[in-house]
Structure formats: C-alpha cells, structure tokens
C-alpha cells in the first residue's frame, strides 16, 4: 500500500467476513425450514431468518464497498485519507448500528418492507453514518493531488447510494405506493448505482492487475455505466407490472429491462478484453480470478437469469416465486459478493505484506464457492420452475406444491455446504494474512503488473 491510512479498509473487510458467515447461518435455517424442518420456529421464525439473511447481506456488501473506497480513494487521489479518526468513528458506529439492527430483528423490531426492514430510528443513524463516510471520502478527493475517472465513478456511486436510500424512509398508507418507492431504493441500487461502484472497483482492479493504459480502461468504464443507466432506470418498470402501477410499465419496463443484460455483458467483455490485452505477469492470481469471475458470473446471474423472467408474459407466472430467489442468489453473488471478495484478495497482501497470492486454500475457496453457488442456483431454479408449473399453471394449492419441493431444498443444502466450505477457506486465508502492517508501505511496485 502507498499510504498508511489505507489500512482502515481492513476493519471493514473483517466486518464483512464476519457478517457473511452469519448470513450463511440464517440461509441454512431457511433451507431446512423449506425442507420441512422448521425446528427453530419458536425462537427464530422464518420471517426473522429471512430478514436477518437479507439485511446481513446488504450490510456486509456495503461494508465491503466502504472498505474498498477507503483503500482505493487515497491511492487514486494520491494522498492520505482526510481523517483517520473520523473513519474509525464511522467504522465503529456502522458496526454498532448493524449489530443493533440484527438483534432488533430477533425482538421483532422491524418494518416488514422487503429489504428495508431496518426500523426508522436506525435509518437515521445509518444516514448520519453514511454522511460521515462520504464527507471523509470527498474531502480526501478534494485535497488529493490527482483526480481520476475511476475514483469519481466509485464516489458518485456511493453518493447516489446514500441519496436513493431516502425515498425508502417515507411512510405511505397505500401499500402499492410504498412498494413503488421501495423499488427506487432496491432496484435503482442493484441495477443502477451499485453498478457504478462495481464499474469503479473493477476498473481499479483491471488497471492494477493488467497494466493496461488507464485512459483506455476508463473510456470503456463510461460506456458501460452509460449503458447501465440507459437501460436500468426505465427498467425499474419490471417491478411495476403487477403491483398496482399503470399498464404502460408492461411495455416500457419490458423493453428497457430486457436491455439491462447488455451492460452486464459489457462488463464481461471489458474485463476479459483488458485481461487479454494486458500483460499476464501480475503475481496475484487469486485477485485476477475473482475480478474475472465477477465480470462473468454477474452476467450469468443478473443478465441471463434476469432476462429469463423479466418479460411481462413470463413474469406474470414467475413473479414472487422461487424463480426470483434463484436469480437473486446468483445475481448478488456474481455482481457484488464476488466483487468484494476480489478487492479483498487484491488489497490484503498489500496491506499486510504477506504474499498469499496463489495458495491451495485460496484456489479451493474460489472454485468451491463458485461451484457451490451455481449448484444452489440450479436447486432454486428447479424448485422454482416446479413451483410455477404446479401452482401457477396447474393451479394446485401453495402448500401442496411446497411439500413436493422438499427434495430440491435437500439439494440446496448439499450445494450450500460446498459453497460454505469455500467461504470458510477464503476466510481462513483472510485470517492468515494477519493485520495490516506499516512494513507493507511502498511495497506495491514489487508486485505490480508493468505495462507491456
């Protein structure tokens, strides 16, 4: 690493890893419940488990994004972070809010609004916390000697994540209006501004790992995020087909959301082309694997599996079934979970000075988690298609169908076990790196790809 303040990222990454493990625990609880073993029903009913699972996901991803920003922005702006104590305060308060929210869910302190379950008083603390974070990042950029497109795309993504959180905090008596604005948060996050964060982090990684000229990479970055908004903003309409919105959304949402995969395909081509153009000498093979897998698997999960149910004629039958859960898992995994794992794999050796670049653990972690997740996706997919056929086409009762699906959740749990072994190995490697050390300052040149 170049600046010692970059190591603040470590705390955020460590928090991410911890919350990821917890998220998986709740995934298993739900997997067993779906299989007919809802043994924790009296203590952790399904609605507690699902809320905890999804919110832990969002919190660990945001923690990963913040860590990434604390690592990348000083480097790109070529200066120390504006304030380390402020960053520490922000970290501690972020962790506290996260923990309070998770405990609160178990005491039914929540708002039953999918993905935005954090209760209002905590929302305000989240907002305050994010302001601290953004202030620190923006002031670093302003005082910096350099200003790069990569850094600004990443920063703008983070600023808009904060702004778009606000419409989700308004109370409406009409559940349809409530849902309409909830998608401004959820959809415009994952299919909008989070892609700015993704584009920014991927460009940074590609610049570092392939040595391709920054100007070339950043030009394509603009094109890709341009395609994202061109399709993704009006693509929000795919959530307005059947939730009380006027019927023009069927047409508009259908056309534009069907174009969204183009932006994800753009990411794939972008990353693979830069890899092929660049030199292949960078020793951190694991970081490269994760970077490329992010670009590829996001296209499968978000692009292909999104397209599979985004047309109104299909969505009429798949809307709100396990088909949606299939897509949700691979999309979040490919685009955002893998992204965080990529930046962690890249930055940990640089922060700690330990070159765990191509370890057996690390390679196994990569393959097992990806294969496990693909199998989980298949299990959800088979269950989902079965559900759609039996319940929505043949017209059997929901619970009659649910019993037929038990076996697919058994497959889900087997696949999830493979996935979890992969994640555990990843975390073991993470811990083997140890803590960031100032001895690692200024070592990055010794393992940077040289333009070639």
């Amino acid at each position: 690493m170049k600046f010692k303040s970059q190591k603040i990222a470590y705390y955020f990454f460590a928090l991410s890893m911890l919350l990821l493990i917890l998220q998986i625990v709740y995934g298993f609880i739900m997997g067993f419940a779906h299989m007919g073993y809802d043994v924790l029903h009296d203590f952790i009913p399904f609605n507690v488990a699902v809320t905890t699972h999804k919110n832990l996901l969002v919190v660990w991803l945001l923690s990963g994004f913040m860590g990434a920003a604390y690592y990348i922005i000083p480097d790109e702006a070529d200066t120390e972070l504006y304030s380390v104590p402020l960053a520490l305060i922000q970290f501690v308060s972020f962790a506290i809010v996260g923990v309070v929210a998770v405990i609160g869910f178990h005491m039914h302190w929540w708002e039953g609004r999918k993905f935005l379950e954090i209760p209002r008083p905590l929302d305000w603390l989240v907002a305050l916390n994010v302001i601290l974070f953004l202030a620190n990042i923006l002031l670093t950029q302003i005082k910096g000697k350099k200003s790069s497109t990569t850094a600004w795309v990443l920063t703008m993504g983070l600023v808009f994540i904060a702004l778009l959180y606000l419409p989700g905090m308004i109370y409406f008596e009409n559940i349809s209006v409530d849902s309409f604005l909830r998608w401004w948060v959820v959809h415009l996050w994952v299919e909008g501004v989070w892609e700015l964060v993704m584009g920014g982090i991927l460009s940074y990684l590609l610049i570092k790992l392939t040595g391709v000229d920054r100007e070339v990479i950043e030009k394509w970055l603009y094109v890709i995020v341009g395609l994202t908004f061109l399709s993704g903003i009006l693509g929000t309409g795919h959530h307005y087909y059947y939730t009380g919105g006027p019927n023009y959304w069927l047409m508009i949402g259908g056309i534009f959301s069907a174009l969204e995969p183009v932006a994800f395909l753009g990411m794939t081509i972008f990353a693979v082309q830069m890899y092929r153009k660049g030199n292949k000498n960078h020793p951190n093979k694991l970081a490269l694997f994760w970077t490329l897998s992010t670009a590829i698997v996001s296209f499968l999960g978000a692009g292909v599996l999104g397209l599979a149910h985004t047309l109104p004629a299909v969505n009429l039958y798949t809307h709100g079934t396990l088909v949606t859960a299939m897509h949700g898992h691979l999309a979040f995994w490919g685009a955002y979970a893998s992204l965080v794992l990529a930046i962690i794999s890249y930055s940990m050796p640089l922060m700690t000075g330990r070159k765990l670049f191509d370890t057996r653990n690390g390679n196994l972690a990569f393959w097992l988690s990806n294969i496990g997740m693909l199998c989980m996706t298949a299990a959800f997919g088979v269950a989902g298609v079965g559900q759609v056929y039996l319940e929505r086409i043949v017209g059997l009762d929901f619970m009659v169908v649910a019993q037929e699906l038990h076996v697919h959740f058994f497959v889900l749990i087997l696949s999830a076990t493979v996935f979890t072994v992969g994640i555990l190995l990843y975390i073991i490697d993470f811990m083997k790196h140890g803590l960031p050390s100032e001895e690692a300052l200024g070592t990055e040149e010794s393992f940077e790809a040289v333009a070639g």
Binding site: T51, G112, S179, I233
Partner: protein
C-alpha cells in the same frame, strides 16, 4: 474511434435523459395510475391500520402480497376472495400456530379490532387492478 470525452457525454447525457423520463412517468403513476388501480378512495383508516399491522408483524417475511415478499407461505393478494373473512380471522390467533399441512405460521395475539383491520386491508387489496396478476392457472379444470 470513440474518445473518452465522447464516452463521458454518452454517459451523462443518457443518464439525465432517461432519469427525466422516469421521473415524469413516476409522477404520473403516483398521481393517476396507482390511485385508480388501487381504489385509493376506498382506503379507509381501518385499511391503513391493517396495512400498519401487516408491516409491524413482517407478514411479508413469509408471505407474498402483490407478488412481493418471501416464498415460504401463500400469496395473499386474493386471499379475501379465496378463503373469506372468517377463515382469515381464524388463522391469525390459531392455538399453536396455523399449519394444517405441517408448515407453521406464527401464532399471533391480535385483538378483535386488529383482526377486523387486517381483514379490511385484505378486502381492499383484493379489489386492486394488478394488470392481470395473479393469473388464472391455464391448466386448472
């Protein structure tokens, strides 16, 4: 070839253009489309209390409504016409948790008034025009 500046203009121009269209359509949806499709004039205080209870208890953490929620328990958009109000009242506080087919619902402790609020909420949702969702199963005899 495309220059970096042109790429930037494409990004900013496209984003602003589509954001403006989106905002305009959203305003129209919020002011005209949704109130009409959801019969906003029938949204009484009782219905609003029912919606509050729906949220307060995170019913969406197991069920879906308008196709949104979790996939552990049945879709409830049309539960009012499918099962009727008495069935709904019975399910809510059922001793030991409602679960005729093994999978159990949480046992609640709603007052009689609260039960009526929830029933009123479902009755209102039941009347929404959702562009054909949920569809009649094509193969159902």
């Amino acid at each position: 070839m495309l220059s970096k500046r042109q790429a930037k203009i494409f990004f900013l121009g496209g984003t602003i253009f589509f954001a403006v269209i989106f905002l305009a359509l959203s305003v129209d949806s919020l002011l005209n489309g949704i109130p009409k499709n959801t019969n906003a004039h029938l949204l009484t205080e009782q219905v609003a209390r029912g919606k509050y209870l729906w949220e307060r208890n995170n019913c969406m953490g197991c069920h879906t409504i308008m196709g949104e929620g979790a996939y552990y328990a049945p879709e409830l958009t049309r539960v009012y016409s499918r099962r009727g109000p008495d069935y709904i009242r019975t399910v809510l506080n059922f001793e030991g948790g409602w679960g005729p087919r093994g999978r159990k619902m949480v046992q609640y402790n709603f007052s009689d008034n609260e039960k009526e609020d929830i029933v009123a909420f479902f009755e209102w949702v039941n009347k929404m025009d959702l562009n054909g969702f949920p569809a009649d199963p094509p193969l159902k005899q």
